[in-house]
């Protein structure tokens, strides 16, 4: 999953970027509202974490612009101004969730997880469970029946994306766009290697290859 963090406080952004990367997200960071307005419109982000007090342009303005332009990605507002009146205003502008500073990083990670599940039409509180596999996002492992299977960071990222988009045809370029930061797109061989690792750990039938088109995650039930 690829996230955009828009936050002008450098120390906080540093910490959040590292924390979110440890959670297995590809994350881009911007500090200016004008840059954010532009970049979010061209890159395929799965979620945006938006601070409201931004240099350049106020966060709420940027958010309204995105929504007016029909961009539907989930937006989590991060702000020191956390009264209910401001929260209502933020959600009215099109935000999907609201987190007040200061917060526990854990809380932010949980909200991000929840929002991503919700955006895919899943229960935001329950772990991702698809066709006999259950993903444990905090431990970055996957459960098959009662067996816990360990994953590397790259495998976990890939599997999470597959499980959130099960039974969908995913091209290699789309996977690359959503799993790696702005300029860090790997060549398709790396992706193939990770897919094969997953197949070895979970069973060959879990991920189908469609020649010339990409992959499709079908899980154990197929």
């Amino acid at each position: 999953m690829r996230l955009l963090l828009v936050e002008d406080n450098v120390p906080l952004a540093d910490e959040l970027v590292q924390g979110l990367q440890r959670q297995g997200y590809a994350i881009d960071w911007l500090a200016d509202g004008r840059d954010a307005a532009f970049q979010a419109a061209c890159e395929p982000y799965d979620l945006i974490i938006l601070d409201l007090g931004l240099p350049g342009r106020p966060g709420l303005d940027v958010l309204r612009e995105w929504r007016d332009a029909g961009l539907r990605f989930p937006v989590l507002i991060l702000t020191a101004r956390a009264s209910w009146a401001e929260r209502i205003e933020g959600l009215r502008a099109g935000a999907d969730d609201y987190l007040a500073k200061p917060f526990h990083p854990e809380e932010l990670f949980l909200r991000v997880q929840g929002l991503l599940r919700r955006a895919r039409g899943l229960d935001s509180r329950a772990p991702i469970e698809v066709a006999g596999l259950r993903l444990d996002e905090s431990r970055q492992t996957v459960w098959r029946d009662n067996e816990e299977i360990g994953l590397t960071g790259a495998e976990f990222r890939l599997l999470r994306y597959f499980m959130l988009h099960s039974n969908q045809l995913l091209s290699k370029s789309r996977l690359g766009e959503h799993l790696y930061e702005g300029d860090g797109e790997p060549d398709s061989n790396v992706l193939e290697v990770h897919v094969n690792h997953l197949r070895r750990k979970l069973g060959r039938q879990v991920i189908e290859t469609r020649r010339g088109q990409g992959y499709c995650f079908v899980g154990l039930s197929a």
């Binding site: 910490e15 959040l16 020191a80 209910w84 009215r92 007040a100 526990h104 935001s124």
Partner: protein, 438 residues
């Protein structure tokens, strides 16, 4: 209480009374004077007639009765004369046993002389010389009927004057009331100002009131400005500290500190203290700033978006309902009340299984906000500790204790109370009672 109306009324009463008394007396005095002058002519004519009636008879100088007015013959008729000759005095028959004194000087006498039978006489003396001897003729006429008439007129005028005075006072009262009406309008506007239904006074006041209204408006502006500045100062400081706090929290979560759990926990606790303190002081700064009214809370306008927001934050809820009398307007600051309702509803939503309900009703001079959920509820013995400042029943649900502390600060400022009970839905019921400001 001192009253402008009464002061103006009393002032006008004295002025009109003074003017009225002076006018009545002056006019009567003038008429009296004119009348006496007129009567003086009549008396002089009488004296001259008496002189003509003085003839030389067989026994010397005598009065020719035939030439005299019959009024001098009839006793106590009101017309009298006295003719003083060097050696004798003639008096009119009408004098009867009354002695008309000869005035000391000639002409019309000042004042009236007491006459017979309560009469008051106007007396005129003229001196002549006839048949070689000095004559002094004194004619008198009863002035009493006229005096009586004057008294009557005086009473009549006083009555009419008093009546006119009453009418004038009544008109003045109405007039003053009408003139003070703009003041009443300004008073109503100040009241609306206090109730938060307007931000400033209408500057289109009457010319006399315009300076007052302008002063009040500029005072409002001044107060508002300094209030905003001090509120902003506290707010900016508080909000500026929040980002570094968030950084500290993130740093504490780093893997390097995994080996130092006790240290991490202690620092976390201290950060909690700082954070709660900050949130509460920010809330208090806003509350103590309630000298000027902000917008009030219109239930129909504010509750739907609040509920939408809560539904978005808590998507597991199946039902989040509210009911309030249509058009109900709560006379407290909109943001503060949103904060109270938001925190309480948020708590209820965190604990609820499927539904939360909010009802707002007016109960006499009190407003009752009731929030119910169908969650696990709180055991009775734990309720008091839940209400203790800043405590949390469940560390897993963040911000629980803090939200309640902020609600309690706000309720304290408004003189409201908070009670916990069993909800009809099965979970916790929170009753907030707020006394309506007058």
């Amino acid at each position: 209480m001192r009253s402008i109306q009464r002061r103006l009324g009393v002032g006008l009463l004295f002025i009109l009374l003074l003017v009225g008394v002076v006018m009545v007396n002056a006019s009567i005095w003038l008429v009296d004077l004119g009348l006496r002058r007129y009567l003086q002519n009549g008396l002089r004519d009488e004296a001259e007639l008496l002189l003509i009636a003085t003839v030389r008879g067989p026994a010397g100088i005598q009065l020719d009765d035939l030439r005299l007015s019959p009024a001098y013959q009839r006793p106590l008729s009101g017309s009298y004369f006295r003719v003083d000759l060097p050696d004798q005095v003639w008096r009119s028959r009408s004098s009867w046993d009354f002695q008309l004194e000869r005035p000391t000087r000639s002409g019309l006498q000042h004042g009236l002389v007491d006459g017979p039978g309560g009469q008051e006489l106007l007396v005129y003396r003229a001196d002549f010389r006839r048949f070689g001897s000095d004559l002094s003729i004194t004619a008198a006429q009863d002035y009493r009927p006229l005096s009586l008439a004057f008294t009557q007129v005086r009473w009549l005028l006083s009555g009419i004057g008093a009546l006119a005075l009453l009418v004038v006072l009544l008109l003045q009262w109405l007039n003053v009331r009408a003139a003070l009406h703009p003041l009443e309008r300004v008073r109503l506007q100040v009241l609306q100002l206090q109730q938060g239904r307007r931000g400033r006074l209408d500057s289109e006041a009457d010319r006399e009131l315009a300076p007052l209204v302008e002063q009040i408006n500029s005072l409002l502006q001044h107060t508002e400005g300094s209030l905003r500045r001090s509120r902003n100062a506290v707010g900016n400081l508080g909000h500026a500290l929040k980002t570094p706090l968030a950084v500290l929290r993130s740093l504490l979560a780093r893997a390097e500190l995994d080996a130092l759990q006790p240290l991490r926990r202690q620092m976390d606790d201290q950060l909690d203290v700082v954070e709660q303190r900050l949130a509460r002081e920010l809330n208090r700064a806003r509350l103590s700033g309630e000298v000027l009214p902000g917008a009030h809370f219109e239930c129909d306008q504010e509750l739907p978006p609040l509920c939408d927001t809560l539904r978005m934050i808590h998507p597991h809820l199946r039902q989040l309902s509210w009911q309030a009398p249509p058009g109900l307007r709560l006379p407290w600051d909109r943001e503060d009340l949103l904060e109270v309702l938001g925190n309480l509803l948020d708590n209820a939503c965190k604990w609820a299984l499927t539904q939360v309900s909010l009802s707002i009703e007016q109960d006499g001079q009190e407003l009752l906000l009731r929030i119910e959920d169908d969650g696990p509820g709180v055991a009775e013995q734990l309720r008091s500790s839940l209400l203790a400042r800043g405590s949390r029943l469940d560390e897993q649900v963040p911000g629980h204790g803090l939200g309640l502390a902020i609600v309690r600060d706000t309720l304290d400022a408004w003189g409201g109370t908070l009670q916990l009970g069993n909800a009809g839905l099965g979970g916790l019921r929170v009753d907030v009672r707020l006394p309506l400001p007058n």
